[in-house]
Symmetry: C2
Amino acid sequence: MGAPKPISNLARLRRLVEESDFDAVIAVSPESVPYTAGVFIWTQRTIRERLAIVVWPKKGEPTFIVCTIEEAEARERSWIEDTRTYVEFKTSPIEALIEVLEEKGLVEGTLGIEKSYLSTAYHDELRERVPRARLEACEDLFYKARMVKTPDEIKLMTRAARATEKALLSTFATIQPGDTEKSMALRLSMAMLQCGGDRIKFLYINAGPNSGYPHRQPGDYQAQPGDIIRTDCGAYFNGYISDIGRTAVVGSPSGEQRSIYRRLIEIHHETIQVARPGKRACDLFETARQGYAKRHVPFPLPHCGHSLGLDGHEQPILNAFDTTELEPNMLFAIETRVRWPGEQGYHIEDLVQVTEGAPRVLSDFFATDDLFVI
Amino acid sequence: MGAPKPISNLARLRRLVEESDFDAVIAVSPESVPYTAGVFIWTQRTIRERLAIVVWPKKGEPTFIVCTIEEAEARERSWIEDTRTYVEFKTSPIEALIEVLEEKGLVEGTLGIEKSYLSTAYHDELRERVPRARLEACEDLFYKARMVKTPDEIKLMTRAARATEKALLSTFATIQPGDTEKSMALRLSMAMLQCGGDRIKFLYINAGPNSGYPHRQPGDYQAQPGDIIRTDCGAYFNGYISDIGRTAVVGSPSGEQRSIYRRLIEIHHETIQVARPGKRACDLFETARQGYAKRHVPFPLPHCGHSLGLDGHEQPILNAFDTTELEPNMLFAIETRVRWPGEQGYHIEDLVQVTEGAPRVLSDFFATDDLFVI
């Protein structure tokens, strides 16, 4: 049985490595390892010390290093043929890495490492053992590879976005006054799994005054008529992450609620429309900023969205400082929201594909132009 | 409304800091921050760059640093009164940390940092900005504080363990030949949430040949009569993690299956019995190793269990090298298992409390002495 083909763009990654100054790049993050190896070592996300590593040299084939516990999975599921192992606690993963570097003649080379992920402790260990190597941050290279999606990635992430929307719609359909946030969260979680999610990544569903907090654990508060129900949630689908936000109101919205939502949805559409090739990430932020200002909605937020894929927040980030130019087949979670802690909060978040022409909203399972009435 | 009291042992932490050589310790991990601040900043676990930080000086009161997005949550839910914020992307969290260090006269002090969590990139930034400070690893201090649980922590983790067992039992009760692993995983996930889990931490339920892999994503394989069903799963309960493993068989077990399970359960009981004050973590590993050898069960495993709490694997780890002496009110996930990839695998994992006398199995909702027959 052959290993499944990765859906990531390894040709793009290979080209970036070849064009770089690195003699090798070393993937250690729970995003770059599955991107390169084409296999998910789930414990990467739950047991930080248990590193999985891909050494990707400028010339030659990559090597995959995993703890013996994960060996069978790695050998059977990854396309990488050269797999090495280390015994946890007995041998450090860095020791196993050094052995590969020595064998490949890289110990005096320029090595790209993911400095924004690798812990200081592991870095110190590596630094000490290969004193003549130049250890340089290479996360930008991985970000650059990952930020343009393949057709298979787009297909998967579209399915994930729509499944998450379906879960939201089915949850909204069952909410009644008196329901606790916790019971709504349970129903939403179950719906996300029933709609195909492998596991929940994050899930916020808050009502009334709690809707004013971005990441409050759903609790015992009971939804009342007139309450805003604010959601923001995502799940893993074959390792890729969905991220969708929808807002509803219990019973008839007040004039103020209707007005706030109407203004937000206008800002949302305006921002999405800027997601075209040649525009920069910060241009979307600036459009959003102006849209909020023009409509007198507070905007103390550091970003109005982000790319996503194997990680929940990926580069480019739609903030004031990210000047990355957009390209076709980048995907963005564009999020338009406003919050007054202890009072109310609104959140609209969609998955948008940059195309050669107009941006395409992939999360189009149910319309958001009007506040959803429960 | 006053902030809820943390259930962690802050007096113990305070004493450890006072007895240490650190002028301050700096918590940054998703475990040590809630342990010290008494509040869960959930995005710590999902957005790595968005640090939350607690500066805990040897003398004086701690300071809590969060991104503005999390400000309201931190101010309302933490007992720490001094809260500072930074605007994501605009100001680095390290910049905010340095401001606090300057104000407290700590920039030339000995600072404890969690080097096994803090990324190399953030560490480099800190290093450069406080060149006269001694930055030393302090994770051992946090491990030491966290490894002895308070009565409230034990109560919560007992509830979590038993809820996870209940979810397993209710799932086992519904399995029929022909069920896919994916459908079993969905039912188990839902049951864990219905039994009170806030979100799933990890979840493996595999059948037949797939039961031989420790962390295979449940897929399309359909359980057959005679298949082993191996599980290993945990969820968050108020931020604390459960970790339970149970094994079942579809229909009547074969003589070989019965024999393997019988030997494992004997090893399991023998290992648990060593969990007493004065014994070392490695003594449990050695007991397990000998138990496997005596009963001719392969044991290529690097550990036979671990402590747990706010993290899934916490110190002490029950491996060959950890010489930590056990103390009353340490909790351990003791796991006894064997796997043949592509053939079959068994997993028994229980939550055990070290007491003054005999160890207490807290996950005692359903008996594991015999292989569970579906």
